[in-house]
Symmetry: C2
Subunit: 404 residues, 2 copies
């Protein structure tokens, strides 16, 4: 049984967090340095961006968790520490300073950075920020959540309770991500904590499988970031018998992890840069899952479709067009399209051709801020869901002059 | 010797054209039906969209020029005649009516439509428009050019003179295309006419090769249209010896064709929906041409890069990011990036890392309306050019409510 609970990344036993303003960003009202800490050494798993241009922190983190263990996560916003000559050095130094302050091994630290690419990251504000960051550790999931935000408007955190091995376990996560969102095998920054007792191998297996259906199915703007990372820390403090095989407990863990990641996906898409609407594209009747995924992502990535949704315009021709160029093996003469929201459902296309519908009703449905696009392919049982957002004036505004 | 001349698609001997308002569009001040006519039967070649959803006119045209011959082109704007149950019927009927009026075989007609997808196309306005369309035939390349425009702001026409077999030949073209531009083996609507005497096989060969470096390297919004088509009519009236092999005359023809298509590519990209700037991405030093093309197109398609250019922001990190996720085999530590315009050139990245530069100078360069992004990969001799435009408020405005 899955139950939503309060506490975010501090919901799981033995985890505390904090976020402070250290000065990487000039805006003093915004926290820009976040910390997550487990009172015991935890199993650690992660997935990373497939972009060839990788942030220095990712390289350092990969080395640090090669042994499957970590105890803390530190992340700054405002600067991605990517494409800088001394990036690795700065990331290592950050871990060293934090390790010293916490009294843990620097190689047990996961380090992340998010923000502008290609601007040298000064260690000074981070070095000064670490003492207050550590001294203020507590049930401050919200502070950490703010610390990792860049152009995000809404904080993104969630937690659930579930049962494994007869014990109550908790799992929670925070995410940042608003632009440059088009993950490939990993995504934006997502930090998940759990007190479930699970082996490193099974933790990595659960995470790698999960991102295929969660973060890899989100797109805000088609740009795959250089600093995408999802990491999970599992400290085992729930006291359940360690999960080491694909048993019922593993299924329960997977379900709980999926609840966290799906929630964060929807939050990330709905809070896409400039977005006014969360778009959820549900494809069914594909000949297989891979085909369904290709179709769902192609529709959710179409600039024309996204702009039509901003205008609450039931321009289903753009949905068909995006299906047609997706590269998926589809019989376009069997395609059906409907739009759904709180205000109802309207079918606009059947068998690849338009059907008469009330433009007024369509407008009413599409004026809502959560829209589902339902696509049937009539080819089999494959299905998939992708998440995105509309394309708006504000996306252009935010990205027309991001650096100043 | 290639020389730019006046006359567009009517520059070549024996070609006339016209455009009228027939009523497919409600706006009476805009011509919406275009005709191109050759006084003799011409060799015809074409390439089409790879979108699985194909406009009915493309299917009809493909059948009509299967014998390599055509004498006229008719095209309406305002309605794409795509995803309609009776689309083929309407397209065939259009050819029949035009054939009758011109006294030519209906199967010697190339038919095209552009505009909204999925709305039934009424034959009545077209049927009524054909008589004035034919009776007004003359040196009216500009009228035809207007007749095929949709959201285009600028008409796109060009012509050149060249020599083949000691004879002066002429080649000209018109294009429409502003949104839903991301061609794949073909593009938008482009009609080219020439009086050069060239076999159907060599004409198709020249065209197919040309689009790889021209229209397939343009992107406005990443959406591959359902109705893309490029066609060439060659009526041989220049009197040169027929080109049947890859000889010097063929090279001269290729060069002239490339001059026409490259000009139209730049026009299409620069007149992208809402665009304020033409972006030209030139990649060199790639290990091969394919790699250079992948990199150039990835950069030109990045929403974040496009928005930065709108803001005249030298945010080169987004260029590196787009190279990194392009899928091309590139050593990111060797990448160099410069921006160039009429105001000068500025280098912003060398060996994958930022170099100090004057933000003031960069701004001055990027405020121009034609920007070159120069990328060096340091891996070999492969090079490619791609064309695109910035992402602006007006793109969102135009596409937020296109149908009303």
């Amino acid at each position: 049984m899955l139950k939503e609970i309060q506490g975010g990344i501090c919901a799981a036993k033995g985890f505390t967090a904090n976020g402070v303003h250290c000065g990487v960003r000039k805006n003093k009202t915004k926290r820009d340095l976040a910390l997550i800490y487990s009172e015991t050494l935890a199993s650690a798993a992660a997935v990373y961006t497939k972009n060839l241009v990788k942030g220095a922190p990712l390289t350092v983190t990969k080395n640090h968790i090669a042994n499957g263990k970590a105890q803390a996560v530190i992340c700054n916003s405002g600067n991605a520490n990517t494409c800088n000559a001394n990036g690795i050095e700065i990331a290592e130094e950050t871990c060293k300073l934090l390790g010293k302050e916490l009294g843990i091994n620097p190689t047990d630290v996961i380090v992340a950075s998010t923000g502008v690419i290609g601007q040298p990251l000064d260690i000074t504000p981070i070095a000064n920020g670490i003492a207050p960051l550590v001294s203020g550790l507590g049930a401050h999931s919200d502070f950490a959540c703010e610390g990792i935000m860049t152009t995000d408007i809404k904080p993104k955190e969630i937690a659930f309770e579930f049962t494994a091995g007869g014990k109550t376990c908790r799992i929670g996560g925070i995410a940042k991500g608003s632009g440059m969102i088009h993950p490939n095998m990993a995504t934006m920054l997502v930090f998940v904590t759990t007190d479930c007792n699970i082996s490193v191998e099974m933790l990595q297996k659960a995470l790698s499988k999960d991102v295929e259906d969660s973060f890899n199915m989100v797109s805000v703007d088609g740009d795959t970031s250089t600093n995408d990372m999802v990491s999970v820390l599992a400290n085992g403090l729930a006291g359940n018998e360690e999960i080491t095989t694909e048993n019922a407990d593993f299924k329960a863990f997977q379900e709980a992890l999926s609840a966290v990641t799906t929630y964060l996906c929807r939050m990330i898409a709905g809070d896409g840069e400039g977005a006014t609407k969360l778009l959820e594209c549900k494809v069914c009747g594909a000949k297989d899952t891979a085909t369904a995924k290709i179709v769902a992502k192609s529709v959710i990535c179409s600039s024309l479709f996204k702009a039509a949704m901003f205008g609450a315009d039931a321009n289903w021709g753009r949905v068909l067009c995006a299906i047609g160029y997706s590269g998926a093996d589809v019989d376009v003469n069997k395609v059906g399209v409907s739009f759904r929201s709180k205000k109802g459902t309207i079918t606009v296309c059947e068998n690849g051709a338009g059907v008469p519908f009330s433009e007024e009703k369509a407008k009413e449905i599409l004026l809502e801020n959560e829209i589902e696009v339902l696509i049937t392919l009539g080819d089999g049982n494959g299905k998939a869901t992708a998440w995105g957002c509309d394309l708006t004036y504000d996306y252009v505004k935010i990205n027309g002059d991001y650096r100043t």
